[in-house]
């Protein structure tokens, strides 16, 4: 957690090595609940990214006045106001998506990934690294939501990018149909757990392979 990280390295770490969803396993409730389609996952991912970046910025900007005994109320104040703003923006600009995500937009308040970044990083670092950290961590979380959403949608209903209209507007879009039917379990709650488990397993497998390759190179 040193402050002297290079921006690119910080982003790489946030996206992969310290991914809030894959490694820290934070914010699992929204992750498991809304990822039944790609568009839902993308919507919540963008909302979380926005809140995380802004909350990191604000916490970092106010860190000089942060005192240990009032820091938690301050985080909660900042995060709750930002989530309210994002909710209003979604209701104004993506009403269909807001209806589809329902209570999970206001529930971003309780996503522990956000308060964790405020406490671990933003309260101890200057504004620029905090913004980069917020974007990186938010993008890491959002990408995971998108990946699990796309996977569950493809397996569960055999489509890609269905209901994209919730983002770009216009008439309902069915999406590209890859095959008919689908494996319903993937859409149901157990499918969310299985998909997350597959994602974590895949990440660990890739890491192990990389480590082995690096060790092999060292031994030569």
């Amino acid at each position: 957690m040193s402050t002297t990280r290079k921006p690119m390295e910080a982003v790489r770490k946030a996206l992969w090595d310290e991914n809030p969803g894959l490694v820290a396993l934070l914010g699992l409730c929204p992750l498991l609940a809304v990822t039944s389609t790609f568009v839902n996952g993308f919507g919540l991912g963008i909302a979380t990214l926005l809140v995380l970046t802004c909350s990191n910025t604000l916490v970092s900007a106010t860190r000089k006045w942060l005192r240990p005994e009032i820091r938690i109320p301050i985080y909660v104040l900042i995060i709750a106001s930002l989530v309210t703003c994002v909710e209003l923006l979604f209701r104004a600009y993506f009403p269909a998506l807001d209806r589809s995500l329902g209570i999970f937009i206001p529930l971003i308040v309780t996503n522990c990934a956000i308060i964790a970044r405020a406490e671990i990083f933003a309260s101890k670092n200057p504004i620029t690294p905090s913004i980069i950290d917020g974007i990186g961590m938010g993008a890491g979380f959002a990408l995971l939501l998108c990946a699990i959403g796309a996977f569950r949608e493809l397996v569960g209903q055999g489509t890609i990018l269905s209901r994209l209209d919730m983002f770009i507007g216009g008439d309902p879009i069915g999406g590209f149909i890859v095959f008919d039917g689908g494996f319903l379990l993937a859409i149901l709650p157990p499918g969310a757990f299985f998909s997350l488990a597959l994602a974590v397993a895949a990440k660990n497998a890739i890491d192990r392979r990389r480590k082995r390759a690096a060790g092999f190179r060292l031994s030569i």
Binding site: A33, I70, L77, I78, L82, L88, R91, A92, Y93, P95
Partner: protein, 225 residues
């Protein structure tokens, strides 16, 4: 860990409590301003979206009723106090066929749900039978109370064609309350709230059918007096 704790408490004693209060107050003021600004920025668009969503649902809530007037021009605001569910003025749309009333739509709020008001669009035909009910807005628990949404389950379709005589008005309650209507186990508060709101709307329409169709927009203010 121990030295850090002593460190914290000594720091606490140096700075007075009121300065922490001031810091909190200032940050609260900044955050409130931020929310207020965003609200001001989005208010109009949100109202437009809500109206568009309502208008999109008028047709499904009339489920097959034949009419020939422009629903949007037939809207009427029923001011408080009224016997309809909810604590705000209720919008009513009236469907006519060759100038004869055939159905009415009410936008009401069921207030006794599990979490926040449930906004319902209730269609009633001329025989005081439900054409269809649609949930416009709710904050019920996902996976538990959101079955009232027609996109999540077909529970709400059970109201179609029901009236105050079929089932009898004394049986307009959930089965577990001795009535005739289906509930969802584990979410009886939500089910009960919707059933009660639909029943109250039917009772209101039965008692006030003539006035609902007779009132024109300009009469709304007279009715309020």
């Amino acid at each position: 860990m121990a030295p850090q704790i002593t460190n914290l408490s000594s720091e606490k004693s140096e700075k007075p409590v009121w300065s922490a209060g001031i810091i909190l107050a200032v940050i609260a003021a900044v955050c409130t301003t931020l929310v207020a600004l965003t609200y001001g920025l989005t208010e109009v668009r949100i109202a437009e979206n809500d109206r568009a969503w309502l208008e999109q649902n008028l047709q499904p809530a009339l489920a097959g009723v034949v009419y020939d007037n422009n629903l949007l021009e037939s809207v009427l605001e029923i001011p408080l106090p009224h016997e309809l569910p909810g604590n705000e003025p209720v919008l009513a749309y009236r469907a006519l066929l060759e100038n004869t009333p055939v159905a009415a739509l009410f936008v009401v709020s069921a207030l006794n749900g599990f979490s926040g008001p449930i906004k319902l669009l209730i269609g009633i035909d001329d025989n005081v039978a439900i054409t269809a009910v649609r949930v416009l807005k709710h904050r019920e628990t996902p996976g538990l109370g959101d079955f009232i949404d027609s996109s999540k389950s077909d529970w709400i379709d059970q109201f179609e064609q029901k009236s105050l005589s079929a089932p009898d008005r004394t049986l307009w309650a959930l089965q577990r309350d001795g009535g005739k209507l289906d509930q969802v186990t584990g979410a009886s508060i939500t089910s009960r709230a919707v059933v009660k709101a639909v029943k109250e709307t039917l009772l209101y329409f039965e008692a006030n059918r003539e006035t609902v169709f007779a009132m024109s927009d300009s009469d709304t203010t007279d009715a309020a007096e």
